[in-house]
């Protein structure tokens, strides 16, 4: 029913029951201390009633930070008769709240004996949230309350920077590699590209969870030596290597999402992020740029779709810069194809195909035709046949798909079994 953003918490259902349509009540077993509830078989019209509690049980990597965002709707955005969130904290611990989509004001009570304050948010009669295809995450529409012990981004980023600053130290090996990569590179863009290419292709991506203990990156020297890391490791390595090349760069906290909702960044919280990239300010005629070190098939300047549209926090020496990643113009993601087909009297066709994709199409081609060299023809046939009819690829050449600095080009010689259909001596070409 609820989730916490830290690993140092315990979720426990304290009571659960099913209220039947006719008013009969069936208890649902929720063993003491358990984090699950076993409901009896449910029927249309039943109401589920669950009371659960989340306790912070130990100080984790986040210190005494607490933050959580909770929707008032029940499971599956179901119609919700009554939803209540209660936050209990020491009275001298300041909590910050952000309410969205009609979430109520809290009722606050203080208990001087236990020195605790209780914040109670209650909402009744929520209608089921209609689910539509390709809609944003329900967080954009469902009433919700966010709570954080951080009220200002300055405090949040100072805390995170304090956690990671010492991991951004360079080493002789890093400096040597940077010198090697920059040999013959004179412009800022060339230098950035050489370092970016190294991190995305020569340092293997290895995902650890970004939340919880996954928040602290390894030391840049360790990441460099063992040649693998997760998103924040790669962001830290990009920053450290660019800095060694005399180029400013900063880590960026971002929520990667292909179905991005409008984000509420009014309250600093760990849970607002699941990914880390880097940002390079403008200089020497090169526009400011976000760099995603996990984007193995993406040339510099092309971000994964999951990064686009995000409201992010650039952590500049501990200070926050809130920015928008933005979307590329349509032409930046271009599927460019030239096809020459010689139609034969029997409706078949022979010809040539040239594809010169850009942006995310470039990336898709690298992933499809670069990863399985032996299956290139088969993959192209599989791609073309639904559009042209059964197609055979007799020759295929590509640009160097492993070199991110070389634009993708795919050339093929093809035969289409039935491009045109005949009906009463009239041919209709696709």
């Amino acid at each position: 029913m609820a989730s916490s953003t830290t690993a140092a918490t315990r979720w426990c259902a304290s009571a659960a029951r099913v209220i039947r349509k006719d008013g009969k009540i069936d208890d649902a077993p929720a063993p003491p201390g358990s984090s699950w509830v076993k409901f009896p078989p449910l029927a249309v019209g039943d109401t589920i009633d669950v009371e659960a509690r989340i306790d912070t049980v130990r100080v984790g990597i986040f210190g005494n930070y607490f933050g959580v965002r909770h929707l008032f709707h029940g499971l599956g955005m179901a119609a919700t008769r009554h939803s209540e969130q209660i936050y209990v904290a020491p009275s001298d611990r300041e909590l910050h709240f952000s309410k969205r989509n009609g979430a109520p004001e809290p009722k606050i009570t203080k208990d001087t004996e236990s020195n605790t304050s209780t914040y109670r948010f209650a909402l009744d009669g929520l209608k089921k949230l209609q689910i539509e295809s390709s809609m944003p995450d329900p967080i954009e529409y469902s009433p919700s309350v966010s709570v954080s012990t951080y009220g200002k981004w300055e405090d949040f980023t100072a805390w995170w920077w304090n956690l990671i600053e010492k991991e951004c130290q360079s080493s002789p090996a890093i400096r040597d590699k940077v010198a090697e990569l920059l040999k013959g590179k004179t412009t800022r863009e060339e230098k950035m590209r050489a370092i970016y290419d190294f991190v995305v292709t020569d340092v293997r991506y290895n995902a650890w969870e970004f939340g919880c203990t996954g928040y602290r990156p390894y030391n840049a020297s360790t990441i460099f030596d063992r040649r693998y890391g997760d998103c924040k490791d790669k962001a830290i390595l990009i920053k450290t290597m660019l800095n060694a090349a005399g180029i400013e760069a900063y880590p960026v906290l971002i929520f990667a999402d292909d179905r991005r909702p409008k984000e509420d960044m009014s309250l600093p919280m760990v849970g607002l992020f699941n990914h880390c990239i880097a940002w390079v300010p403008d200089g020497d005629g090169v526009a400011p740029m976000f760099l995603d070190g996990t984007a193995r098939s993406h040339p510099m300047g092309v971000l994964p779709d999951m990064d686009h549209g995000a409201r992010v926090v650039v952590v500049k020496d501990g200070k926050p810069l809130l920015m928008d990643v933005g979307y590329p113009a349509a032409g930046a993601n271009l599927d460019a194809v030239e096809l020459r087909l010689a139609l034969q009297p029997d409706g078949s066709a022979k010809g040539t195909l040239v594809m010169r994709p850009k942006g995310n199409y470039d990336v898709r081609m690298r992933e499809i035709y670069g990863s399985e060299q032996g299956a290139q023809k088969e993959n192209l046939e599989r791609f073309l046949s639904p559009h042209l009819g059964r197609t055979k690829v007799s020759e295929l050449t590509t640009s160097d798909l492993t070199n991110l600095d070389v634009p993708v080009e795919v050339r093929a010689t093809i035969e289409v079994e039935k491009l045109a259909k005949s009906k009463a001596m009239i041919w209709r070409s696709r």
Partner: protein, 112 residues
């Protein structure tokens, strides 16, 4: 007439919406297909040129015939990552027109 049809209307099958429709990152395509027609066939009809530009995106299809070669050049793009419920009706109309523009045929007939 294009290699890969965008089929934008498939993303907008509900007649009305309560919430925004996410289209994803803006994209474009630019496809040129040159058909060489054999002596045994002649051209009966080619699609009329058409184009449209809208806040959601645009498309253009042109066809040129030069001797036994027919060149079809088609372009389309989407410009925005999401459509609001207020815009949705106009978006569906645009999506329908774009899809139809990609579904034209060249008709040939046997040479006499």
């Amino acid at each position: 007439m294009t290699l890969v049809k965008r089929k934008l209307l498939a993303n907008a099958d509900e007649p009305k919406r309560l919430y925004d429709l996410l289209l994803g990152t803006p994209e474009a395509d630019d496809v040129t297909i040159v058909y060489s027609i054999p002596e045994a066939l002649t051209t009966r009809s080619v699609p009329a040129d058409e184009s449209k530009d809208s806040p959601f995106g645009g498309f253009a299809v042109t066809t040129q015939q030069n001797g036994r070669e027919i060149t079809v050049h088609s372009k389309s793009n989407t410009k925005i990552p999401r459509v609001t419920p207020d815009e949705y009706g106009a978006f569906r109309q645009f999506a329908r027109e774009l899809d139809e523009s990609q579904d034209r045929e060249i008709v040939l007939k046997a040479a006499q």
